[in-house]
């Protein structure tokens, strides 16, 4: 268990002051760097800083987007640059790292840039091109036809269904809720494509028991965040959103196999750490932003972070409880299932916009605390307040 007393000193010490998103969709002429830089310009404008103010450069994106190359393109010579080679799991840990760079005095203003051209690059999340013996996380046992992150989530969904008696019909409530949210988000790719439980149930299986609408989108886009210290944040253009709590817990056991656990061995510890640091309880959280590469991730987050009991997420997610106006709205932007697949980065943008009160028709009334949760063998969470 972390040294919570010491960790509490980091509470509200850093803040996100600028957010930006590029166009989201399919852009055959653009690469991940261009998309990230488009978002970066918008984030700088959002907070009133200029490029030369940035002295920390964190860069992420599928296919090995490099902070060195990005820095070269931007003409930046920062104090510190970094990428974490753990794909979508990296979003929470990188923001935590940025907070440490800032609070320690190593950096004054950190830019976090994300670029993704998966649609244009024709990136596959399964099949021959993802078989990399020796790095077996995504490709162990491929010779049995096992491949893709979705399949790993399908094994988890099956385990949940058979253990607790939950169903695909119950799971449909997750993508249905997120499509409703996306309809209120001008930036969402699926803003004009509503979904019903029946349509979900009629859709084809990809890896059974998961269906088409349980899978995230694959598209191009860029996202940028600007973080600074709490003191400096007050001078920025808009209301700062403070990082109130952070949590992480890893397990490396079985890491060479695709996921098949329900993340009971990582997520509850990350939750305890973040709530302990922030000094709040679950009831204080006004909205959740949950990493949703697959719909079932929402259930794991709700159960393992104590928003409902283990095994109860199927029932908990019914009756609009996770929708706007419900008990705990989840992914009010539409998330990866309906807005855009930016590997958790647009989840941060939405958290900030909700806490600034900028969300218009999808605004969570009186939102003061928003939490981000990512499942996995590298589980992470962030608690933001305004």
């Amino acid at each position: 268990m972390p040294d919570l007393e010491r960790l509490k000193r980091l509470r509200n010490r850093t803040a996100i002051v600028g957010v930006g998103a590029s166009r989201q969709g399919t852009f055959p002429d653009l690469d991940p760097y261009t998309l990230a830089i488009e978002a970066f310009r918008s984030a700088l404008d959002d907070c009133g800083l200029v490029r030369g103010d940035i002295d920390g450069l964190i860069v992420q994106g599928p296919g090995g987007v490099s902070f060195v190359r990005m820095g070269e393109m931007l003409g930046l010579n920062p104090v510190a640059g970094a990428t974490f080679d753990i794909g979508g799991f990296a979003t929470g840990p990188l923001i935590q790292y940025a907070a440490l760079l800032l609070d320690s005095g190593i950096c004054r203003n950190v830019a976090l840039l994300y670029g993704n051209a998966s649609r244009t690059e024709g990136r596959r999340f399964g099949g021959e091109t993802t078989v990399t013996p020796g790095r077996e996380y995504s490709s162990a046992f491929y010779y049995y036809g096992l491949t893709s992150p979705g399949a790993a989530s399908a094994f988890q969904a099956r385990l949940h269904f058979e253990t607790y008696g939950t169903t695909s019909r119950q799971l449909a409530a997750v993508p249905v809720a997120q499509r409703r949210h996306a309809a209120l988000n001008p930036q969402a790719i699926k803003k004009d494509s509503p979904l019903t439980v029946e349509k979900h149930q009629r859709s084809r299986f990809i890896c059974e028991p998961l269906r088409l609408y349980d899978y995230c989108l694959i598209n191009d886009g860029g996202v940028a965040l600007i973080m600074t210290t709490a003191e400096r944040a007050k001078d920025r253009r808009k209301r700062p959103v403070y990082l109130m709590g952070l949590g992480r817990h890893d397990t490396y056991r079985h890491s060479s196999l695709p996921n098949y656990l329900l993340w009971r061995e990582t997520m509850p510890m990350a939750a305890e750490m973040a709530f302990g640091m922030a000094g709040i309880g679950r009831d204080d959280v006004d909205a959740l932003m949950i990493y949703d590469s697959f719909s079932i991730n929402i259930w794991f987050a709700l159960e393992n972070f104590g928003f409902c009991k283990p095994g109860e997420a199927g029932a908990f997610t019914q009756d609009g409880r996770i929708e706007l106006g419900g008990e705990i709205p989840v992914n009010t932007h539409g998330g990866h299932l309906a807005e855009s697949y930016m590997q958790g980065w647009l989840h941060q943008v939405e958290a900030v916009r909700q806490l600034r009160g900028e969300c218009g028709a999808r605004q969570v009334r009186g939102a003061e605390i928003v939490q981000y949760i990512c499942r996995g063998n590298v589980a992470s969470t962030l608690i933001y307040r305004n």
Binding site: R124, G126, G127, E128, V131, P133, G134, A140, F141, Y142, Y143, Y144, G145, L146, T147, S148, A151, A154, F155, Q156, R158, L159, E162, T163, R204, F205, I206, C207, E208, P209, R253, H254, S256, L257, P258, Y260
Partner: protein, 136 residues
Amino acid sequence: MSAYRKPLPAVDDLNRPFWEGVRRRELRLLRCEGCGGYRFRSFRLCPKCGGDKATWVETSGKGTIWSYGIFHKAYFEGFKDEVPYNVVLVELAEGPRLYTNLVGARNDQIRIGMPVEAVFEDVTPEVTLVKFKPAG
């Protein structure tokens, strides 16, 4: 006779004893000489005790289904004609878990907890795969 078109395992110095065992209809695992723990992955060191001495031993070939998925999308060209096909995660009696295909049962008969046992399938003149069937 048509050629085998599915992907084949990558055999290396560390896992070669496993594949040679399967060829002889033995499901072998590495057992640590220090703590007696079994491991499927051919890591050089034991993750439990750090011991560097381990031997390949034959297992019971028995286990139960931990979870499973049915592939309706053919990510691999070689599996195109078999969709929907199953992949099951078997927990061996000795502890380690491995992914495989269940044969001798329809996809809708598969259940978590189902007892299963190893069978061996020569897929090419050089390569044998271990699959599982319902026990009994």
